[in-house]
Symmetry: C2
Subunit: 464 residues, 2 copies
């Protein structure tokens, strides 16, 4: 039988040295807000259970906070406190840095400093990794340390682990999901209570589901950070956030939520990454936008601030992962899972470890590009305000002549329409290039039958 030479050498070590790896993993943390405090609390509460699973303890040794008084209220007196993030990042007693401060500029500096000092890093900061991930992962590879980020996507759901380890046998065809809790809360409100976007947002803010400045969430940027990381892990491509097509829900009208319902669909903000051949070349659709999903689809049942991610693998078929998309302890669940993974990898060679983006550097396809908007292929929903209901056939015929593959055409029910609204033609198309839809929508504006702005939304069937 094959024997690993390192294992044989280890047998020659004195017992004390062989057992040395079992002392507690020493953690330094920057930030003691919701995520940081949650991490400290769960580590303390479940320390026996975690050590029983990990085979060693996990001990917080130093925390950086803006307010030391407030930090001491959380962590007590057994943990060193500092105002200086760099001191934590390079602390000689720290094995692993937990970056729980958020933001991109300074966080990048702290993380790179920790890596250069030979520390592993755990972070739930999707903005940081979506914008500086390629640089950070390259530095980690160079210094032989791990950067783990399960909490960066759909916090409590172990989707990074599922994609990178659980589904490792598969050629992944697509990943799609509801990966922003704030917008899903807003969309659920719009549907359940028939309110408009502005009112639903105000409710979300009042209940703490949306921040005072909700831009990152409602413009789809947060979801784009996350789907970018999932795409890299799914397809073996670099992090390409700058190329993602991002559309939020601020322009979404209650009328379209109601019309979608009439057609048997619900509107969700989806992040979608799909590998596709476009002519000779292979590319990846990487996009965030509101989309119609069949009302009976599992994703359509994901309500409130919950998240869910679906993955289609060639062997596994469709699998789905569901759970909380935000919250201090929910994020802590993922941060601590990363810490336990780190606790297990001391003494291993980087070549043995799960690669940062799922594929070893030599297997990453640097040429795998994000397809431009025009080349995206989906079904579409079109809502066309017309002067008279009789014009439904004229609109359908005109769209077909523009090479739009019209599937279903109907009129919006009166009860779906707000008072004073004219008739609305609803169209569901078959799969078609975005370029054709964009041209048709633009040209429709000049059509004499059309009485107002045409709305186009994508439709995702997400079938096995």
């Amino acid at each position: 039988m094959y024997r690993d030479p390192v294992q044989s050498l280890e047998a020659l070590l004195p017992p004390a040295a062989a057992g040395a790896a079992m002392r507690p993993l020493r953690v330094g943390m920057i930030g003691i807000g919701t995520v940081g405090a949650g991490t400290f609390r769960v580590l303390a509460r479940n320390q026996a259970e975690i050590a029983g699973r990990a085979g060693r303890g996990i001990r917080m040794v130093v925390v950086c906070a803006r307010s030391l008084a407030r930090a001491m209220g959380v962590v007590g007196t057994g943990v060193a406190l500092t105002n200086d993030p760099m001191q934590v990042a390079t602390h000689p007693d720290v094995d692993v840095l937990v970056e729980a401060a958020g933001g991109t500029g300074p966080a990048r500096d702290w993380v790179l400093a920790a890596i250069r000092a030979g520390k592993h890093v755990v972070t739930a900061n999707k903005a940081l990794l979506a914008t500086h991930g390629n640089e950070i992962f390259a530095a980690a590879r160079q210094h032989g340390v791990a950067v783990a980020y399960e909490g960066a996507v759909a916090v409590s759901i172990p989707i990074v682990k599922a994609l990178r380890e659980g589904l490792v046998a598969n050629r992944i065809e697509w990943v799609a999901g509801i990966i922003n809790g704030t917008t899903n809360f807003i969309l659920s409100k719009m549907r359940d209570e028939g309110v408009g976007f502005a009112e639903a947002l105000a409710q979300a803010q009042a209940l703490g589901y949306a921040e005072a400045d909700p831009t990152f969430d409602i413009e789809g940027i947060d979801a784009a950070h996350k789907i970018t990381l999932l795409a890299a892990n799914a397809f073996g491509m670099p992090v390409r956030f700058a190329d993602a097509q991002v559309e939020g829900i601020t322009a979404l009208q209650g009328l379209d939520v109601a019309c979608a319902e009439q057609l048997g669909y619900r509107i969700k903000l989806l992040g979608v990454a799909r590998r596709r051949r476009d002519g000779e070349a292979e590319g990846v659709e990487l996009r965030v936008h509101p989309a119609l999903v069949p009302a009976m689809h599992l994703l359509a049942q994901v309500n409130g601030s919950m998240n869910a991610v679906m993955v289609k693998g060639d062997a596994s078929g469709v699998t789905m992962y569901y759970g909380a998309g935000a919250g201090g302890e929910q994020t802590a669940s993922a941060v601590i899972a990363d810490l336990v993974d780190v606790a297990r990898l001391e003494g291993t060679r980087p070549a043995q470890r799960v690669p940062h983006l799922g594929f070893h550097a030599s297997a990453v396809n640097e040429d795998l590009a994000v397809l431009p908007r025009a080349a995206v292929h989906t079904r579409h929903y079109l809502r066309v305000p017309v002067h008279s209901a009789q014009q439904i056939e004229a609109v359908a015929a005109w769209l077909a002549a523009q090479q739009v593959p019209v599937g279903q055409v109907t009129l919006a029910n009166d009860k779906a329409l707000p008072p004073g609204s004219g008739p609305q033609v609803l169209v569901l198309t078959d799969t078609v290039a975005q370029s054709i839809v964009d041209l048709a929508v633009q040209a429709l504006a000049a059509h004499p039958a059309v009485a107002g702005p045409v709305v186009a939304l994508r439709v995702e069937m997400l079938a096995g």
Copy 2:
């Protein structure tokens, strides 16, 4: 910074030795049926992608099959073939044994022989691990090898990994799921088409969703194997299949499917493992039975032969995992994920690895017992055939007097009832000990108002 001594020693090795672990992992497989053939096919088809993720190749070197001719039709000429399972289990060129033959007696012998020969083992055989798991895992611990079994529960869904690694930070409160595809297919048919159990079973057999001898599936035994393994991983207890309470769906009547629907519930065969204090002692409810689930609950939307598992952790909250519950390539997806995990652990110490049942041996609670049936606490659905609809209040009052906490009482709609059926009182209870329900059901038979056998089914809300 702390440096692992093994890592330092490794730096002293000549380059060839340090790189030695990167040669392909060599696999021997017993069985080339649906799962074995699927594993071979996916390994071959996705070999570049898998090696790019694993950092090394995975190569099938020897296969044991009953028909060598049939086996050669699957694996071609590049793989050694044999009729002798023990030859594969102890083959000098094999690093890891894939047991894909099924069954318990001989499979146990092969797996133990492989372990004693220093081989890692991968299997999707839940019957084997539920009945001989404690012995097999103890032997693996003694010999320092891994036994991996992701495919044994809800094949393509990485639920073992999620529970054991992704949710490692949590104290798990309960695990519950639809973990048998055959019975879920039958229950979906019964509901969607209003057919009885026998007809739905016949359809499942005709379509290949049920075996010629469906006993293991329809009697709940297969699901009990799986929930037993999940319970051990969730709570740090030994494998206690013999103590599980197991009830299948053979006695389920179409009438109760219809009455459940009227009340806003669907009937699913659930595996449930729940940690609970019962007086002074802590115990685990470990059970498989048909249960009413709220129709709007995500688990109620899991139809056909699909599987889904929900886990409630104290930090994560509820997470859910959904996917195919059977199939050759779907199981292969899990088997190969295990092989990649094994490919990564050569040279590691067992103490660094994910323990077989989630907890290191010293942290397993040998005293954590399965609660007896009488001590199980759930809500209940009762259907009481009565001579006259006027007796509804008498039945409710009588149940309350028997300490059954009656929540909702109503009469079955006429349209739910088969022709000639008398009136039926439907009762939903609050949470109550099984002992109280059992006594009440038994005593009800003698109540003058009652016109036939009383049906009692558990109700699971599975709320966060």
